[in-house]
Symmetry: C2
Subunit: 497 residues, 2 copies
């Protein structure tokens, strides 16, 4: 009898292994099907891109697998301040730096450049400085003669201080006022309100330094330069359009400031014809009375009339939880006729008025949403956003520094990427946290947030998204040039082999 038993057993075992194979096949198919839902997975890579992809993915997988087994030593599980310089030495970072990244669609006027740059600005002639009595803060102003008022101690020329004291020490002291970076962020920035307080103080403190017209224009010119250096080809700047001033006592209004922006943009494009320029999103502070908002809209319309191609549209800024919800401005915003690019859902407070700004932004016909951090809790809105092709301007590092999320792996971007939401990566105020103007955000998103499987297709799509969802007029030109640069980039990676 036993030969029959053996045959039977063999058959059963064969059938078993058959079932096992079928299940494993099903597993593969399911994972594959889901991967195809990710951002970028409709892209077909060329033969050379496939080779470049393997180089990139080898590096990515090696780093992530190291982190998986050694989480204590993995950069991306620490605070951004701890690893931001360290990662710059990695091959992957360098690749991402050299990668054409498309456009920056979410960046704020005086938050783009870091403290070393701002410190340099304090070497400009005619800058006066006043320290608070306890040295805890500092005021600036440009003037021909010693200013009066706004100072409890004494206004002194920056130049004189440097001549009469230790300039190195003085610079080190000053630099601290131009950055949020500290060695112990968890202790200093105990909660979201606290870090926003420091963040707002940066803008208030540096206001009179930056709004000196020559400095304003220089800062913006150098911002464009930094973007270009970081392989960004186009910029949409959110600006509060503050009044500028000069040494002659002239005060320039918001429309003048917009004109300044336009003039500098044109100069920059002339100096660097490979850069595709910039547009403005007028984005004044949101915590205002309705009358003020009406005035904002008037200003925006005036600018639109004067420079219809230069003004992309309108937004409202500053800490969303403390500001007015959009719904309070409904009639004014609805009938404004302006293109809207609202910040919305930059909050953790699910079901509050801030959270519901997401509904208002969508209903008001926003073209893109700034942050959209809370959108992941809104299944209906997520569908609407996809259907209406409203891009999400995601700023991961900003959300970490400003304490919406600690562990980048919990950032909702992971979910948005997994569902091919119309995501655009941006950097918000990279200078204030000493990030590079865009590369760091790509690095963190790619290495910390996206799936271990997410590859060159995703990177390319994210760059392309920033062009598709921009308000640039002739997008085909933008995309064509992008493709040329992309091929060069791929070639440069292949040389690494």
């Amino acid at each position: 009898m036993w030969p029959l038993t053996i045959i039977l057993l063999t058959n059963i075992l064969l059938a078993m292994s058959q079932i096992h194979k079928i299940v494993l096949k099903e597993r593969e198919t399911l994972i594959e099907r889901e991967l195809k839902m990710m951002v970028g997975y409709s892209i077909e890579l060329s033969a050379t891109e496939l080779v470049a992809n393997e180089i990139i993915m080898d590096l990515k997988r090696k780093e992530i697998d190291y982190g998986f087994w050694n989480p204590k030593y993995y950069h991306l599980l620490k605070h951004f301040f701890e690893y931001k310089e360290l990662v710059k030495d990695t091959k992957l970072y360098k690749i991402l730096k050299s990668m054409p990244k498309g456009a920056v669609l979410h960046g704020h006027d005086t938050g783009m450049l870091g403290p070393d740059y701002v410190l340099e600005l304090t070497y400009c002639d005619d800058l006066w400085i006043c320290f608070k009595e306890d040295q805890s803060d500092v005021n600036f102003v440009f003037a021909k003669h010693r200013p009066t008022g706004w100072c409890a101690t004494k206004w002194e020329r920056a130049m004189d201080i440097r001549r009469t004291t230790n300039a190195t020490e003085f610079d080190a002291k000053l630099r601290k006022f131009f950055t949020l970076v500290v060695v112990n962020p968890q202790e200093v920035y105990t909660d979201l309100d606290t870090v926003w307080d420091y963040f707002m103080k940066y803008f208030i403190r540096t206001g009179p330094l930056f709004t000196y017209k020559p400095v304003w224009e220089k800062y913006y010119y150098d911002t464009l330069f930094a973007l270009r250096e970081d392989n960004v080809m186009y910029f949409e700047i959110r600006t509060v359009l503050p009044p500028l001033y000069d040494l002659e006592g002239n005060i320039y209004n918001s429309v003048d400031t917009a004109k300044s922006y336009k003039r500098v943009t044109e100069k920059f494009k002339k100096d660097y014809p490979d850069f595709f320029g910039a547009k403005l999103i007028y984005a004044p502070v949101r915590s205002v009375a309705r009358e003020t908002l009406k005035n904002y809209i008037k200003v925006a319309k005036e600018i639109h009339k004067l420079m219809p191609d230069f003004l992309a549209g309108f937004d409202l800024v500053s800490q969303e939880d403390l500001g007015k919800p959009l719904k309070e401005f409904y009639p004014d915003l609805a009938k404004s006729g302006l293109n809207l690019y609202f910040h919305a859902g930059e909050t953790n407070w699910y079901g509050t008025s801030t959270d519901e700004n997401l509904f208002d932004a969508v209903l008001l016909g926003t073209k893109r949403i700034g942050h959209a951090f809370a959108l992941v809790k809104h299944p209906l809105l997520m569908k609407e956003v996809k259907k209406r092709k409203i891009a999400l301007e995601v700023n991961v590092i900003s959300n970490v520094v400003l304490k919406l999320v600690d562990d980048v792996r919990n950032h909702p971007l992971a979910t948005y990427l997994s569902q091919n939401m119309p995501v655009v990566l941006s950097s918000d105020d990279p200078g204030v946290w000493e990030a590079e103007i865009l590369t760091h955000d790509f690095y963190v998103a790619f290495m910390g947030v996206s799936s271990r499987h997410a590859d060159l297709k995703m990177l390319k799509q994210l760059a392309l998204n920033s062009l598709y969802y921009s308000s640039y007029g002739e997008k085909h030109k933008l995309v064509r040039e992008f493709q040329i640069r992309w091929m060069k980039f791929i070639g440069s990676i292949l040389k690494m082999k």
Copy 2:
């Protein structure tokens, strides 16, 4: 001409206000439509439930709005250890405590009761204690005579130590070994691996204390008692089924341990006939060779044969990132014929083998998923899970303590709730972090994670889900009794008014 202008203007203004109203209406409709997608929103509340709901929602909104404007002082933005005792005094906590919460479907054998209870166990006769030389750890064993081995210092009777030294101080020292709670969790538990190390040591250290058969049975009896006190009516316990021992030198195997569980369950049901009992999920550790797994399955089958109604099914436990991925056990698990209740996706590592345990769990036909923390990054699987009615056993406090997420508002549960995923709230190992056996998890989910709008309907649905997705045989009886208790609960809230 101007009367005509006025008429025209009036008409325009009227039309404007009309548009405004329409937009606001659309807004309301959209928010309403999305709310209807949430967990519990198909439930129609009775007139009395509506009144109770208003009482609950007044309390909830007041607390959340306070937090919104005073985040620095809001309990739920701190670490659980900081607020766990404080919230117990709130009205809402007391309501949730008195609320019938259904079943606990995800709890581990010796993680259910807190350090005060465990300390009491060390008063049992015949307990011997051995401290490490540096006092950094402690071993226990029950024995008639002084044990030999397993001790670098000296085995001493607990009773003798208490008699010869300061018992209060000794108890305080001992208690620390029975809890993860510390005053500075962020400093002690720097990363996930570190906290898991402490967590595992708790189980290793207390092993010989708990596996003394009389203690094991007492602990389990008292666990059922604590559940009943917390208004839980049924329990599915995940157990490693360790060998038990007694003073006579007998060692009982896993099947015997299962029998112990069954006997105590029956005794408890006799003592408290209003409790609906318990079932076992045999859940040994996952970091084993395939041969060991085969043996696990053999044991599970044996138990199933002996007590088909008492064994709910099979699972694998301990730190998922460090364990074997499910796919390595595919053929054995696929053909086991057991009901499966897998832990899966208790990880932040998107796209790794741990993350993909979610696919394997689903493909292997798991009835529920333990944690499913990472599921939010898997759009296809989310659909599958909903279609196949696979419940997600979410343990928010566990995920905070074990460092998957810091800010509870970023827990993926918020997304699961928003999409009416089949969620069941549970508590994992509440004793180890000194949480109440279920109420704290309801409190944190309701006040910290769910929408400000989420109300009694959600609470009721979550309790009902724990019954629907249980493996209890006669669910209609369970649900009928639940409804009776629910009505009493509603009555008690109404009396508060």
